[in-house]
Symmetry: C2
Subunit: 468 residues, 2 copies
């Protein structure tokens, strides 16, 4: 495992496959990122020698200095075995093979891939790839060969992402940045010829800096699926593991074969196995985002399925009810007594038009203080396990302070609470007010319900194994 630790935090790196004529070649992009953006001592390597960006080029790994901890290989596939052999002879333990042209292109590539695995194993090298875009650790390193201006710089945080698709990974980085979810590391695993998703699950499972692990999987070769869920079983006791499985449909599965040459996969048993082993199974990219975000907040438990909901628009309550129902979550009808308790704290002029049956609709006449007071009462009810706050800041009585105000009420209660605020720049102050005070904010009503579903699924697993 320590080779992976070095891979994600090397002191000195080398890039094999820089071009002295094409500054836009993948090797050069990677070299510039490592050397200049991240300030890592990095040796550029090309058999022809010369200079790249004013830096002397070494003709081979063998000729380069001895302090290299990570090598990134970006040369045509047929040259990869000899470069890897040199890495082994030099005692380098961490290598990322960006090059394509292996198992994903058919039988010739399959044997070449077997060859590099054998070399890596012989020398105890931890090899990521081939056919990957490598690894990204905020503030530390970035081996993605994509131009920097095209990829979001994520903030440092506590979510680790592992993906069998580089494109999918890049998009998640953009999305996580946009949704203010910090990243601990992002791994493009490529063909996973030697280092597997499971290795990184175990690595991040034991990394105290990581709060949630997010995986995109397309398939496993024989036996790997079992290893994966066994690893998850151990890790899920410590932290949530969220998995999206691509290739459910016939065409989708065909596409995974053309893409990473993975075998039939474990779709049929995936959902049940994931559930048994505590893996949180996301069915689409929206759920991935909802679960990643909510767990980055380390939410309180949700001990049963019952939600109390406050809105300022009847339609929002209706839509949330329908969504919750599709996830098996309930909105219990509040008793007459409970309804009276809430009604009593509302501004008298609006009491008669508000509804408190759950979902509660405080109406467009409600103000911040109505929302605070009713929430404080609602969160004290024994018949709910979580609070769902639907904010429609168009109502004239709702101010931009409502996020922080309501979050501070929530803090007084042991129940988990999530909020929905429309995704508009003008409401950024509301969203920040919630999030800086520990309440995750969803972009859509559906996402807010998915967040609660994620919390409930995780709590249910922890209840099953006796943790809570």
């Amino acid at each position: 495992m320590s080779a992976l630790k070095t891979m994600l935090n090397p002191k000195v790196t080398a890039v094999v496959g820089v071009s002295t004529s094409n500054p836009f070649s993948p090797g050069n992009v990677i070299f510039r990122k490592l050397a200049f953006e991240h300030g890592l001592p990095t040796y550029p390597i090309n058999p022809k020698g010369g200079k790249v960006e004013g830096v002397d080029v070494y003709k081979s790994i063998a000729e380069a200095p001895n302090d290299i901890e990570l090598v990134v290989i970006s040369v045509p596939a047929k040259y990869v075995p000899s470069v890897l052999e040199q890495c082994g002879e030099k005692g380098i333990k961490s290598v990322i093979v960006v090059s394509g042209g292996f198992s994903e292109v058919g039988s010739s590539g399959v044997s070449l891939q077997a060859e590099i695995v054998e070399i890596a194993n012989k020398h105890n090298i931890s090899m990521v790839g081939p056919n990957c875009i490598g690894v990204y650790v905020p503030d530390v390193l970035d081996t993605f060969f994509l131009p920097s201006e095209r990829v979001a710089r994520s903030t440092k945080g506590h979510a680790a992402i592992i993906s069998q698709s580089g494109g999918w990974l890049i998009e998640r980085l953009e999305e996580f940045a946009d949704r203010r979810v910090g990243i601990a590391a992002a791994i493009s695993i490529g063909n996973a010829a030697q280092t597997k998703v499971t290795d990184f699950i175990e690595h991040f499972g034991n990394d105290k800096n990581v709060n949630v692990i997010v995986c995109y999987l397309e398939g496993f070769s024989e036996g790997e699926g079992r290893e994966f869920v066994e690893a998850c079983k151990n890790i899920a006791q410590k932290k949530p593991v969220v998995v999206l499985k691509g290739g459910k449909s016939e065409a989708g599965h065909r596409a995974t074969q053309s893409h990473t040459s993975s075998l039939a996969g474990i779709q049929a048993v995936a959902s049940a196995a994931f559930k048994q082993y505590g893996v949180i199974h996301a069915v689409d990219e929206d759920e991935v985002m909802a679960y990643a975000k909510v767990f980055s907040f380390a939410p309180k438990y949700m001990m049963s399925d019952r939600i109390g909901t406050l809105s300022v628009s009847g339609g929002h309550g209706v839509i949330a009810s329908d969504e919750a129902s599709s996830y098996g979550l309930e909105f219990p009808l509040f008793s007459e007594e409970e309804q009276s308790m809430m009604r009593e704290v509302m501004t008298p002029a609006y009491r008669s038009i508000a509804s408190f049956r759950n979902p509660c609709d405080l109406t467009g006449s409600a103000s911040d203080i109505d929302y605070e007071k009713v929430l404080d009462i609602m969160l004290s009810f024994d018949n709910i396990d979580a609070g769902l706050l639907l904010l429609l800041p168009y109502a004239p009585g709702i101010s931009l302070q409502i996020g922080a105000r309501v979050a501070n009420v929530s803090k007084q209660h042991p129940k988990t609470v999530v909020a929905y605020v429309p995704d508009l720049n003008k409401y950024e102050v509301i969203t920040r007010g919630f999030e800086l005070n520990g309440i995750p904010v969803a972009d859509t009503i559906e996402e807010a319900v998915q967040m609660l579903n994620g919390i409930r699924a995780r709590t249910r697993y922890l209840q099953k194994i006796g943790v809570c």
Copy 2:
């Protein structure tokens, strides 16, 4: 129907219920919007007289001038009957009742609501509401009592929205503005005491400026459901009608009752009936957006279920395949000959790593011209009915011109094409390039598939009734 036409384009209006002491009262907000933002001659009315914003206040509708075409009533419920009576006596045919306190608050409100319907009917008044936020027609009028700085100003366009929830409507206006979908009109129908959703369906169905009608429904009173689908049957021959039905779950249904007092609704038969009558049934807000947007482009037909897909990331193809499959749409496997035809036009250096089986993955090495050339070949294949373009502009060979370039290739073919581009400001040029050239752009892969599903559903209906 002409009273609705006047309601949406009045020459002179009056607002009953302005306050001379509280400039933020709903009546005052509405008065300022009509008089100053929209420059409509508008009489403020309050029994006490005085001045509002420097304008003389009339003491009643009876005392106001005779040229009023639309009256907006925002007074406590108990005063609404007498105001409405005065409107009738003055020969005013269009009235919007913003006031709450009718059927949505229980039995006392039910009888008051029956009373105002009787008055409106007696005088042949078309009355929208009560308990609504009224109507919004870009550049013409806006009776929403929400502060202007809180609500997006939609651009003028061809989508009409009718909603039983004011909150839902406001959010769609924000979302449509954000997604560049123009609005012809937006109607908050409230309790729909007299003027029904069906009346507006018919009105917009016959309005040549409207390309697509979008409805949010929570329920119908007895007999109304049948009238609604019959109206849709007529209108759907001319233009798409997209419906989202809220209140599917028990709690959701309970919420609709507390909200607009609608009866049991037609959920059980809704989906089948909608399909039979050509209504496009959206299951959630994401589908509403996808369908509204794609039909605002007046897309070409999609004669069968088969899609050809181009991506530059294998993972995107996998996810699109899975999504398409869940909608019953297919990605046919391209023949060896077809694959060769596409491979031949690729840049030689990348031919061997690209995949053309469908979904086609041109890889992160592809350039604009590869994308153009392969698309041109693919759209000529007889075994697909539509093109799905998945753009990952992070690839270094993809320029910001790709949208316009690819759209211009699509124009040469009779097949419908939609695109996915990540929703980031930096790709705005790509998105505009597509959309200005007639290709709708989705925010997510899922939305792109939903757009094709909407086109396919509509084409299927038009095939059934012999239109295409």
